[in-house]
């Protein structure tokens, strides 16, 4: 009984992972002007979009200096901030995104290493 249940859970997870592979990603990168940090973040995120999410990535880069009201709406405090709007759950990343591995893990693109 227990074993069967466990199998079904695993199956569910596997299915979710299969689905994720085809899921569309909606990413928003908020920056404040084109600082070196902004540029670095943009480079990393663009790379991920190109390499891991080819064809299913909706990335938008927003300069808060130009659209300051969005900072309030999106609860931005630190910049650069990358928000993964879809797939759920919503997740935020702040910083210059130097750690690509961490970012990939956070975006559920590679499994978390124990």
């Amino acid at each position: 009984m227990i074993a069967k249940h466990a199998t079904s859970d695993t199956e569910l997870l596997e299915e979710a992972a299969r689905k994720a592979k085809h899921q569309k990603y909606v990413l928003r990168l908020y920056v404040a002007g084109m600082t070196p940090r902004s540029r670095e973040a943009l480079r990393t995120v663009s790379e991920i979009c190109r390499e891991e999410l080819a064809g299913r990535c909706d990335l938008e880069v927003i300069d808060l200096y130009k659209q300051p009201t969005l900072a309030h709406r999106e609860q931005i405090v630190a910049v650069p901030t990358l928000i993964k709007k879809l797939p759920l759950p919503l997740r935020r990343f702040i910083g210059s995104m130097v750690d690509k591995e961490k970012l990939l893990v956070g975006l559920d693109l590679i499994p978390r290493t124990p």
Binding site: A71, V77, V79, R92, I94, S96, V98, K102
Partner: protein
């Protein structure tokens, strides 16, 4: 806004320009308000009123000084804030609609955030900048920025950014309040005080003897004089109020006007007119000596004069006092109905000493009573330490004195202790001190009253018996006899005895007088009789003399006739002899 940005921090300006908070008392302590265009740190423990102070600073700035403001909340949403302060009569939504206020809730959720690499808080700057520019804010409150320390892991970045934020706000010329949670050994948990060098205010909320007291202290205020003490603070339906210690100088006026104590004979004992207006009167005594009655008499008299009165009762319910005092002829209820008497009845343990003091302040400033009674001050003893109570009472008395209020305090003396000592040691602050005392004698207790001191008036040194009747308070002379001082029934008995003695003395006197008078009359009668007898004898003597004369004349005539008849010539010798003999005989008879 711009004018402050040009002010160098090391400038030679006469003083820091002030930005009034509108919070009662705080502007007095800070000599006009917070430093304009600079950040002020408000720190304190949980529930010490940081958020309220910050919010009042913004809302009062808008309402009272026409300075738009921004409130940035890290812990509460705009809706929550709005609800929380609506009980204080602040309508945030209306102010927001009028574009005088901007509220932003900044949410930093650790769980949904990951840090990869370096970042800055430009997002926060943009948000604040947008709001400030939208409404032209001159004030901003940030409550509390320390939440960022929980949300963001890179403390080095955070600290640098906070420093930049405050610098930036300073450059924008907005007067800022940032709040911070109290740390264990530091003013704030994350050392915010190192970024804010202009003004730091510390709020304290401590529990002593299970009673909470709030204090406020200006830890530092660069470039301005400020009060350095801990000031009692209160939060009530009107918001925060800070209580500056009443003026430290002793410069209150001294009135020569008298106000009646409500007891005629007591007025007479106090040099004719009663207490001085604006003086402090202490009535002390053990339980049941009539302290409250004396206070009621004083209040009744003040109300009769048409003055407003404030009666702080800390032991009995006002209704009970009204009932009890009606039984001795003081109808306080009608003054309450007329609005000239206001009771304020609370248990002394309801809140801390400061709160009592602040309450008194508020009541006095609302009601402006020229007469105040506090009954009894000793009940405040249980609320704090003796030193604290004394300092609070000192402030209370000073405050009332400065307002020119005639204040009467009652003080309960514990049985057995020295009567000439108040439990709270405030007697030296009092101008007039009436001591009430119970005397037990002849199976009854009687009340005695005397004036222990009364500054500046020729007061009586006599002990009086203090009697309560349905006609009010009466003072009677006590019996001062050779053996003892007597009161009550003993006095009456002694007086009766004295009276009887006096009567009997009077009677014996009268008797003695009568006796003497009788004796006098008798003597006078005897004297009269003797006088009469003398007169009678006198008369008889005269008669005899006359007879003798007649006889002698007759005899001489007969002799001469005989001689003539005998023809003798020598009548000299013979007549002499002959004349002498009968005369002698008569005289002897």
């Amino acid at each position: 806004m711009a004018r402050q940005t040009h002010t160098p921090s090391t400038g030679k300006l006469p003083g820091v320009e002030k930005c009034p908070t509108g919070i009662r008392g705080l502007d007095e302590i800070t000599d006009g308000g917070l430093p304009r265009g600079r950040p002020t740190l408000v720190c304190g423990g949980a529930g010490s009123g940081k958020t309220l102070l910050a919010m009042e600073f913004i809302v009062r700035g808008i309402r009272d000084y026409g300075e738009p403001g921004v409130f940035v909340a890290f812990e509460e949403t705009a809706d929550e804030l709005s609800r929380n302060v609506s009980s204080l009569g602040f309508d945030l939504d209306k102010l927001v609609r009028r574009r005088q206020l901007a509220v932003d809730h900044i949410r930093v959720e650790r769980s949904e955030m990951e840090e990869t690499g370096e970042y800055d808080l430009e997002g926060l700057f943009i948000r604040l900048g947008t709001m400030i520019d939208q409404i032209g804010a001159q004030r901003i409150a940030i409550d509390t920025v320390e939440v960022l320390f929980a949300g963001l892991l890179n403390e080095a970045i955070l600290r640098a950014e906070l420093r930049r934020l405050l610098r930036w706000l300073k450059d924008k010329g907005v007067t800022t309040i940032i709040t911070g949670e109290q740390g264990e050994k530091t003013l704030t948990r994350h050392g915010l005080e190192e970024y804010v060098s202009d003004c730091v205010i510390f709020l304290d909320h401590r529990i002593v003897n299970q009673i909470a007291t709030r204090r406020l202290r200006v830890v530092k205020y660069r470039g301005s004089s400020h009060g350095t003490n801990e000031y009692p603070t209160m939060i009530d339906q009107h918001g925060l109020s800070v209580l500056p210690i009443s003026s430290l100088g002793l410069d209150y006026g001294a009135s020569t006007e008298h106000v009646s104590s409500g007891v005629d004979r007591l007025d007479a004992m106090l040099g004719g007119g009663g207490y001085y207006r604006g003086s402090s009167i202490l009535v002390s005594g053990t339980a049941g000596t009539g302290k409250t009655s004396l206070a009621a008499a004083f209040i009744d008299a003040a109300c009769r004069r048409g003055e407003r009165c404030l009666y702080l009762v800390l032991e009995e319910a006002p209704a009970q006092i009204i009932r009890n005092m009606a039984s001795i002829g003081f109808d306080l209820g009608r003054w309450v109905d007329k609005g000239s008497l206001r009771f304020h009845g609370v248990r002394s343990t309801l809140y801390g000493l400061e709160q009592h003091l602040v309450t008194l302040h508020k009541l006095v400033s609302e009601f402006h009573p020229p007469t105040v009674a506090v009954d009894p001050i000793t009940n405040l003893m249980v609320v704090g330490e003796t030193a604290e109570v004394k300092s609070t009472l000192t402030r209370m008395i000073d405050f009332l004195k400065n307002q020119g209020i005639t204040a009467l305090f009652t003080s309960l003396t514990e049985g057995g202790g020295p009567a000439e000592q108040t439990e709270v040691g405030v007697s030296s602050l009092m101008d007039t001190w009436l001591l009430l005392r119970n005397v037990e004698m002849g199976a009854e207790r009687n009340r005695l009253m005397f004036i222990l001191k009364s500054r500046g008036m020729a007061h009586s040194n006599q002990v009086r018996e203090f009697r309560l009747s349905d006609q009010g308070i009466q003072l009677r002379d006590v019996y001062v006899g050779p053996s003892a001082v007597l009161t009550g029934a003993a006095r009456l008995v002694q007086e009766a005895r004295d009276k009887a003695q006096a009567v009997s003395e009077r009677e014996s006197m009268a008797r003695r007088r009568r006796e003497l008078q009788q004796e006098q009359a008798l003597t006078r009668a005897q004297f009269e009789a003797l006088h009469l007898k003398t007169a009678a004898l006198d008369e008889e003597l005269h008669t005899l003399e006359a007879e003798d004369q007649t006889r002698r004349v007759t005899a001489a005539g007969e002799q001469a006739e005989l001689a003539r008849a005998q023809g003798a010539d020598g009548n000299g010798g013979l007549s002499k002899k002959g004349a002498k003999r009968p005369a002698d005989r008569y005289a002897r008879a």
